[in-house]
């Protein structure tokens, strides 16, 4: 069977094989970023970049130390000295939010890197293999999908007295890879049967080359999407855990600020300057990440974008794409337009 395939393929390889230009490194780099080259993704990346900068420059940007207690200025609404007011201990909310960015960004990205690596390995291997090995990897993925993550994390986190950020990131990563793996497996399975992969196999290219050079470039968009998705999940997970109080409140992030605010009754006493900024920051980063993912989605599935745009363009010309009956328009108006 294999020999048959090989001779047969070898004969017509030059025509069967799709042209794969020997791209320069630059062009390759450019094409692997193509999925981000749309307005939605760029906006999302800009917002995300802003938060990353804030996290890096926290020491420079924050007007006060996040834990500097000022008993003379408790629960102050925003003022010139304290742009976002103060907490019940007189701490500066703005400084807390700025320093809090660090924990969020670090944990979000660490967790997502871990989760994505696992997802790629499990997903691609499960998609490439056949038979029971593929099935059992898929079953493992589904088990991780079905077992509720947050309760598990709460229990695991409660076992540590003072879990460092790395451990939290690791737990979030270990429980968050399954979605990505599932999607990647499905895509790899469909790629495996494409001509160019079959050709590479028939050519006798080694497995690592087939996966590394032929498959991964075609999976980049999905890998990026699953990375972005895990960052979102990890950030929401971290802030939620911090709010619940499972994560010690002395490591500052937006969730812990909200934990304090909630515990001190800020929500019941309308101290909006205390609870609005961290929540809005989480929402802003969430919006940024989903914008990036929208962009990638539309790159992967152009129909998503073009359907809406086309419909709007048609509407401007007085046509309705949903009209089941072809419009009739006298030639004169069409010529005026043209």
């Amino acid at each position: 069977m294999t020999t048959d395939l090989r001779t047969e393929r070898a004969a017509d390889l030059p025509t069967v094989r799709p042209p794969r230009p020997r791209a320069t490194f630059r062009a390759r780099l450019g094409s692997s970023f193509a999925m981000f080259r749309n307005r939605k993704s760029i906006t999302g990346l800009a917002i995300l970049g802003f938060f990353v900068l804030v996290a890096i420059l926290a020491d420079v940007l924050a007007p006060y130390s996040p834990t500097k207690v000022d008993s003379a200025a408790r629960l102050q609404p925003p003022s010139v000295e304290h742009w976002l007011g103060t907490t019940h201990l007189g701490e500066d909310v703005l400084s807390q939010v700025i320093y809090g960015t660090r924990g969020v960004i670090v944990v979000g990205f660490l967790a997502a890197i871990m989760a994505t690596i696992i997802a790629v390995v499990v997903g691609v291997v499960a998609g490439y293999l056949r038979g029971w090995r593929s099935e059992s990897l898929s079953a493992l993925t589904n088990v991780f999908l079905v077992i509720p993550g947050l309760p598990l994390i709460i229990i695991v986190a409660s076992m540590f007295d003072n879990p460092p950020l790395v451990v939290i990131a690791a737990v979030l990563g270990l429980t968050g890879w399954a979605w990505g793996a599932r999607v990647l497996r499905a895509q790899t399975m469909s790629l495996r049967n494409r001509d160019f992969i079959q050709a590479a196999r028939a050519n006798g290219e080694p497995l690592h080359r087939i996966i590394g050079k032929e498959m991964l470039p075609n999976l980049m968009a999905l890998i990026a999407a699953s990375f972005v998705g895990t960052v979102t999940a990890a950030i929401l997970g971290l802030t939620t855990l911090s709010y619940i109080g499972v994560i010690p409140v002395n490591t500052y992030n937006w969730g812990t600020i909200l934990n304090w605010a909630s515990a001190q009754g800020a929500f019941r006493q309308n101290q909006w300057w205390w609870f609005m900024p961290p929540g809005l920051c989480i929402a802003a980063i969430g919006v940024a990440l989903s914008l990036i993912n929208f962009g990638i989605d539309e790159y992967v599935n152009p129909r998503l974008r073009s359907a809406g745009e086309r419909a709007r363009a048609m509407r401007k010309r007085g046509l309705d794409v949903n009209d089941p009956v072809t419009a009739v328009r006298p030639a004169t108006s069409a010529q005026e337009r043209a």
Binding site: A139, N142, V143, L145, V146, I147, P148, G149, L150, P151, L152, I154, I155, V156, S158, M159, W179, R182, V183, A186, Q187, M189, S190, L222, S226, G229, T232, A233, L236, T240, Y243, I244, G245, V246, L258, F267, R268, N270, F275, P278, G279, I282, A283, G286, V287, L289, S290, N293, D297, N301, R303, L304, A307, G308, R310, A311, R315, V321, N322, P324
Partner: protein, 357 residues
């Protein structure tokens, strides 16, 4: 991790879309192969969850658990023995022996006693909390799924209309952390406007009973949590369904349906939406675990007396037996919900009845 689910249901079509071209012999209507495959999967997951549960306390530092037991001397010797097995203090036995003992306890329905709740059996404590969670979260989730799917269907059908604006709005609401949305809702509607009570499932001093007054209280207390769950999770369903509709609307059978002179409504619901909903149900099944995560937060924010609150209280009090029990029950409920979603899927997609192992 709140009530948000990853937004990639379109990809599932890859796994669904295997259509056999050969004619089927025989007329068996019951998808045995499909059922067997799913049953094996659920049994495996159940085993995995129970095994995780077995190892969880064994990873903890032993003295924490000994301390836990020594804190309460009035535990009867038998109950203490059971707790030792459950929590991994029976280290004098071989691990396999421990594992067998553990299974024996589970099969007898013995999850130990809860120290936090006056030594009452864990099963009893959980069975009091479970109906609240299942009732509120189940209801809110189904409502959200229904509104999101129907809405997404309509938005997808009327692509390019002003309805497209709904998608970014609902997506934004889905990116807000759920607990914050809940707290804001309390601040606005309970504290400032006074429309709804602050938290709890029913008023102080009420006793759970089937009276109109009590039911009214439950509805009044449950509205805010339910509405916030719906708002937070609507976006994902809507986006998923809309994206799926855009794909399905390009299919030949939709064009054929229009050529047949069927009214738009019939084409929309019986042809387009009927097919687009299938991946939705698959992602519903898979996101039940996420939804449960959101539940815990909801119950904390609204002090709702369900299993999520139970888990948090148990975690804070280091009531290990209760923690284990709650995790097991949550996993079981997720599995049951998954099975239900699977059955619904098998009913709605005739193709599962012969393909997909």
């Amino acid at each position: 991790m709140t009530a948000v689910q990853p937004q990639m249901p379109t990809q599932d079509a890859l796994e669904v879309g295997t259509t056999a071209t050969t004619a089927v012999k025989g007329r068996s209507r019951i998808p045995w192969r499909f059922l067997a495959g799913r049953a094996a999967f659920y049994l495996f997951t159940l085993w995995a969850a129970i095994t995780i549960n077995f190892f969880l306390p064994r990873m903890m530092k032993g003295d924490a658990v000994s301390q836990y037991l020594s804190r309460n001397r009035n535990v009867s010797p038998e109950a203490a023995d059971a707790l030792r097995s459950l929590l991994g203090l029976d280290t004098d036995k071989a691990l396999l022996h421990q594992y067998v003992d553990y299974w024996g306890l589970l099969l007898r329905g013995d999850l130990g006693v809860s120290l936090l709740h006056g030594l009452r059996p864990v099963t009893e404590v959980i069975s009091q909390a479970l109906p609240w969670t299942v009732g509120l979260v189940g209801f809110a989730t189904l409502v959200s799924f229904a509104i999101g799917t129907i809405g997404g269907g309509i938005v997808g059908w009327r692509r390019g209309s002003r309805l497209d604006g709904l998608i970014p709005v609902t997506t934004f609401l889905a990116t807000i952390p759920y607990f914050w949305l809940g707290l804001l809702a309390i601040a606005v509607f309970s504290v400032n406007l006074g429309w709804f009570p602050i938290g709890k499932a029913y008023g102080v001093g009420m006793r759970p009973e089937w009276t109109a007054e009590f039911i009214g209280q439950v509805i009044h207390h449950g509205t805010l949590p339910a509405v916030t769950i719906v708002i937070a999770s609507l976006g994902g369903w809507m986006l998923g369904m809309r994206n799926m509709m855009l794909t399905v609307l390009d299919e030949d059978y939709v064009m054929v349906a229009q050529a047949k002179g069927l009214p738009n409504k019939r084409v929309l619901w019986r042809y387009a939406a009927r097919n687009a909903v299938l991946p939705q149900i698959q992602s519903f099944a898979l996101s039940i675990g996420f939804i449960v995560g959101g539940t815990i937060v909801m119950e904390m924010v609204f002090s709702y007396p369900g299993v999520g609150k139970l888990l948090l209280d148990a975690t804070n009090a280091k009531d290990y037996a209760l923690m284990q029990g709650v995790f097991l029950v949550i996993t079981l409920s997720v599995l049951v919900a998954n099975i239900l979603a699977d059955i619904a899927y098998a009913f709605l997609d005739p193709r599962t009845r012969q393909t997909e192992a």
